[in-house]
Amino acid sequence: MTDPVVITGRAIVTPLGDCLESTWTALLSGTSGIGPITAFDASGFPCQLAASVSGINPESLDLPRRESRIMDLHSLILMKCAQEAMRDAALSGEGDSGLEIGFFAGIGMVDYRTDDLTGAVSASLDETRQIDYQRFYERAYQEIFPLWPLAMLNNIALCQVAVKLGLRGENSVFSPHGDSTLQGVWEAVDVLRNGRNQQVLAAGVAEKISESSLARGLLHGFINVRDSTHPCRPFIRDNAGTVLGEGGGIVVLESLSSAASRDRPAQVAISGYGSAFGQADERGFCGPSEEAIAQAMAGALRSSGHTFEEVDLVLTHGEGSPYADRNEIKAIRGLMRGSKSITRIYSSKGNLGHLLAGAPLVDIVLAERMISSGMVPPVDCQGALIEDAEDLLVKDSPSRLNPRVVMVNAFSYEGQAGSLLLEAL
């Protein structure tokens, strides 16, 4: 790497805390962020557990009321992380400096809040309580808050951050799963490698857990409805699915020479990326195939110039679903074939739940901390492991592995797989 792209700022919000320190401490002690859903009445759903985020409010983020009214939790998390990551990197978008700061984000699904439309629906009801479309078209639709349509656009959260912080560099929004977030991170790396911006924020944030997101996950079939005692156990033989989580994060990236010129410390570079598509099951949407996962991982190795033997740790997608976990383990084992050493694996989802588009960004920040501290927290995975995972998984207690080269995996349910490589400088 002639001038590596490094991390100089970071911020995360997870179910275990509203910053890296609290999340990291909780992960080391094996704390779980998963609990009963309290944001809405989930009693009618077959799963009533989730890893929720609380305590993020617009007042603390200095946002005008008119705009914060259309900001759902994912937008607030993105805003909070952006403000903190910029501070952490000692950056400001004021004046012309914002021209050189790019912003790429993976953002989850945006669901409409039923209450946003209820006024209009109520005003449309006829005497028999049925919706009278004539009433809706002629008057009732005006009950909807005029900026509500903007809130329904997936890109608005990024635009609101850009406006608030003055970020005018290159940008894009990818959606809705973790593979999208990794694509955004790599695009940020590409922008920096080719000198198109000075710094770039790379983000990933999950959608708010709501009746819609829970129903979507349940109908999709990836949520655990069988075992409420152990809602998410990555790489367990009889695992039953995952549990939804909220949260996300942002890293500030720049070239090492730029960081040095600003006297900003940097310990970790992002050096490789690969992605591929292939559905695990011809009948439906249950994640990528083993081959697609292996191709994505091999692509990340190729672009970084590393062999798999040199990878010390994989922060797996490891979501606790049968298809995804088994295919990922097979792909890892396949790449390990012929290797003299084993590559250890970790999954944050047993403790944090599945943060969807937010997951790989949180994992990148955790990977940076693992590299700098040498420690890897234990995976919450009580039960008999998938055979191929037994000697690989970090479990029971924190381990000092001193990883130097770390891979982060993220998948979609539609068949996309992405892998990113980070390494110590």
Partner: protein, 436 residues
């Protein structure tokens, strides 16, 4: 910052296809556009009684019928989980893939898919159904909902933006990077730009890139009524979209899809693919101004255009034509004109600038792709497409907008602009292919 600091792989176009209100193929669309025809009419897809805007650019339903006989579509049972927008995208991609002989490419892991797509809006029927089980004070009555058989999984699936590229990847056997971009009206152009980067970066050799949108349904339409962005004063549907005209008063919503096959130059040469043009550069930016308004001086647009030219190593005086975003809103057309003047200086007054949206309406995430295709075809045929309905010049919009009639004029390098709600801007720099 300097532009590209490393010599990068060149990216050419070897296929394109589109389905939109003007035509079921790229050639049909270009032929009608070059005659200055409009694809806008009264909306038939849903009842618009009472709405201040009742027009749109609908795709003829008969044009979707070829899907019934498209074997991969039937085999994968796409009809179950595809949506109107994705159906259009599949047909556009089929046209593009056939033109490029995409089947020839052996290593399918080197073919990716990059799509601007926002997923399908919930239908009024679905919303009406769901609201039966929701009460303001007590929330959802799930037991009652379950008793009806529950809500359809397919409706959720159709809402997801990454389903569209996944379907394309499956049907056309693209096993490389698959991404969905959701940058509103800039999404199609950004999807092409991101595909361009993936090829430059050696992640793929070929990319299916483009965008699709089908928002001519109540829930898709009503949002834009609420933000008062659409044309509400018009004498006929065909004259409502009037970019850069003094009497413009909003955009006209349309639906459609556009697909381009982008390919690394040497890869295309090796397999003997016909090269149709070159994607020279890509630039994007954020306005970072206001969430509801574009920057009055068009600063975001200036940045995007400047970055696209710098990326392509093109000087302002080398630009022969600009395919404008030209939405027909008072704000966009003025700020875009100012931005073009700022970027090109005196050269701005010497080149044609036209808006395809005058004929097609605004196809949102598909716009960047369809307009790139028409731009490319214009270069191939030496025809500049017109801005129709340009009757009353706006003193503040001072450029040559190619009013009402197509113009025969050879041109070799152009910019295609796409600016999104919220302030995301994208610009593509395309060049004619001369074999060098």
């Amino acid at each position: 910052m300097s532009s590209t600091s490393v010599k990068r792989r060149r990216v050419v176009i070897t296929g394109y296809g589109t389905l939109n209100p003007l035509g079921a193929s790229a050639e049909d669309t270009f032929a009608r556009a070059s005659r200055g025809e409009s694809g806008i009419s009264e909306i038939r897809a849903f009842d618009t009684t009472g709405l201040p805007c009742r027009i749109g650019g609908e795709v003829n339903n008969d044009w979707l019928k070829p899907l019934d006989t498209f074997a991969p579509y039937r085999k994968a049972r796409c009809g179950k989980f595809s949506s109107r927008a994705v159906d259009m995208m599949i047909l556009a991609t089929r046209e593009a893939a056939e033109m490029a002989n995409l089947d020839q490419v052996r290593d399918r892991y080197r073919i990716g898919c990059s799509l601007g797509s926002h997923g399908e809006n919930p239908s009024t029927g679905e919303m009406r159904f769901l609201h039966r089980f929701y009460h303001e004070k007590t929330g959802w009555n799930l037991r009652e909902l379950e008793a009806t058989g529950g809500f359809s999984y397919m409706s959720f699936l159709k809402r997801k933006p990454d389903v569209a590229p996944a379907i394309l990847a499956r049907l056309f056997d693209c096993r490389g990077s698959s991404l969905s971009i959701v940058s509103a009206c800039a999404a199609g152009a950004q999807a092409i730009g991101e595909a361009f980067r993936l090829i430059q970066d050696e992640k793929c050799d070929v990319m299916v890139a483009g965008g699709c949108e089908a928002t001519l349904n109540f829930s898709g339409f009503i949002g834009f009524v609420l933000i008062k962005a659409m044309a509400e004063k018009y004498t006929t549907p065909q004259t409502a979209s009037r970019p850069f005209d003094r009497k413009r008063n909003g955009f006209v919503m349309s639906e459609g899809a556009g697909a381009l096959i982008l390919e690394e130059l040497e890869h295309a040469r090796r397999r003997g693919a016909k090269i149709l043009g070159e994607l020279r550069g890509y630039g994007d930016s954020a306005d970072a101004y206001r969430i509801t308004d574009t920057h009055p001086k068009g600063e975001g647009a200036i940045l995007a255009m400047s970055r696209a030219m710098a990326d392509g190593g093109v000087l302002p005086e080398e630009i022969d034509y600009i395919n404008a975003h030209g939405t027909s809103t008072a704000q966009n057309d003025l700020t875009e004109s100012r931005a073009i003047e700022a970027v090109l200086g005196e050269h701005a007054s010497r080149i044609p600038v036209s808006s395809n949206k005058s004929m097609l309406g605004h196809t949102i995430a598909a716009a960047g792709a369809i307009e790139s295709i028409l731009s490319l075809m214009g270069m191939q045929k030496s025809i500049i497409l017109p801005t129709i309905n340009h009757e009353f010049p706006d003193k503040k919009c001072r450029l040559d907008y190619v009013p009402n009639k197509a113009r025969h004029q050879p041109h070799r390098i152009l910019l295609s602009n796409s600016f999104g709600f919220g302030g995301q801007n994208a610009c593509l720099c395309l060049a004619a292919w001369d074999g060098s």
